[in-house]
Symmetry: C2
Amino acid sequence: LIDNFADRLLEAIERKGSPVCVGLDPTWDSLPDQLREHQASPTGKLQAVAAFCQGVLEAVAPIVPAVKIQSAYFEVFRAGGVELYFQMVRLARRLGMVVIGDVKRNDIGPTAAAYAQAHLAGLDAPDAVTVNGYFGADGIDPFCDVAAGEGKGLFVLVRTSNPSAGQIQDFASPDRKTLYQHIAGQVAALGDNPGLIGRSGYSSLGAVVGATYPDEARLLRRLMPRQLFLVPGYGAQSATADDCAAAFNNDRTGAIVNAGRSVIYAYRQDGHKDADWKQAVAAAAEAFARDIRLAVGRT
Amino acid sequence: LIDNFADRLLEAIERKGSPVCVGLDPTWDSLPDQLREHQASPTGKLQAVAAFCQGVLEAVAPIVPAVKIQSAYFEVFRAGGVELYFQMVRLARRLGMVVIGDVKRNDIGPTAAAYAQAHLAGLDAPDAVTVNGYFGADGIDPFCDVAAGEGKGLFVLVRTSNPSAGQIQDFASPDRKTLYQHIAGQVAALGDNPGLIGRSGYSSLGAVVGATYPDEARLLRRLMPRQLFLVPGYGAQSATADDCAAAFNNDRTGAIVNAGRSVIYAYRQDGHKDADWKQAVAAAAEAFARDIRLAVGRT
């Protein structure tokens, strides 16, 4: 195994040929009908979600280099959901994918260290996690320590993809620098740590940069040259592949685009028969990967 | 049960006489020696943490109106830890305390809704949770919906207590308003919702305002008159009772001060015999409550 997260992710992208990631965001209401039959109890629902997640991971593993597993949808099922979350982390890795745990944790230093242990440390934890930077360096450093020590990674929230992101993140200083640019500067500085930089020159401390704001992404690409961008917002959140391309460097590296609902619930859109749901997911993952490859110019 | 969170917390404070909260932040390394004997395996460690948490809750229940349970220290034990977290939520409530789940969750709207279901909805979830506001209103609204619908509450991070807080939160606009003041304005606006305001006039949408920055707290008290402040930083983080008093309104209401490590690990400080650890915790909770009562002027 390559012992630097940035190098490992870039190698996986080269091997699969597409800089894309599927977001595993399972909600019981959206599962295929066949999985929802006879599953009304909480335990039954969790079993249905487990079957769905396993099917999605198997369907997309030949196509995409990485999967982003959204903790919230597992935490809905409390302890049983958390058990399933870590089972899916292990399954995704066995299937050859790099695993990003989308947990967006954050707290003061000692507590951030506990979160880093809980979600990033050890072989059965994800390869990388998402982290909220509102506490400043204190809340990020413990994740960097685990990342440097164990060849793991993290993506700090810089520009999120949701409609109200600008209410906070566009807050501006006298020289018109915005908060998200200010955080980008801090992310670039913290990531410029020899223990995190791979042979590729990229850092294992990356940034979340939403595809729904391509002008911001182009600016952030210049402010954070050594950061890998995790780019949410394609598909259900309405960003196009061209919007996503703004997050890449001129050499067509430096970012990985995530699609969640538009891929994993593809069977709900196309009038697929229920029995075909895994094929529909695989086909949507193929179409997504091709769409991004073309937009980025990796043909 | 009083069906508005703000009213319920204020009533609990009046009943116990002190506007204080104990932070349950259990780490195995800090447990009493007697609990750490023969507990080297992960399961053994979790059992020791469970015995410790139960002892702390029983020790402080006669003294303090509320407990803040820090999810990170439970998540370290993965699914088993999450199971214990919810057991401790139920135990604290049975012991008559208001329960704040310190989870600091945050995400885009649909995912924030999942977190609100996971951590705030239902009788076995906490009375309130902490929420990070970096996503703007999208990430806060789903928690407000559960709070308004079920008589629960939330505390949005405004000014955190850690040393590097200012790196992000002091970021300033051309009129010298800082980011934390900007977020305070948004919290005040979102909290001014008839479904959240109690008979007391306070909102069930409160704010986290660290005691380590008393000048900021005084300013924020004016910017958020209807917000209850959850005030961390006393004790191990070195804020004094007078620092904490800055978070209260002139009528001596409007805030609840949290102490974690300085109370729950009191037996490590005073040369207590190990067998006395629960008495040491109770004594520290009494001293903490008295210290805050005097500083706030509730004598």
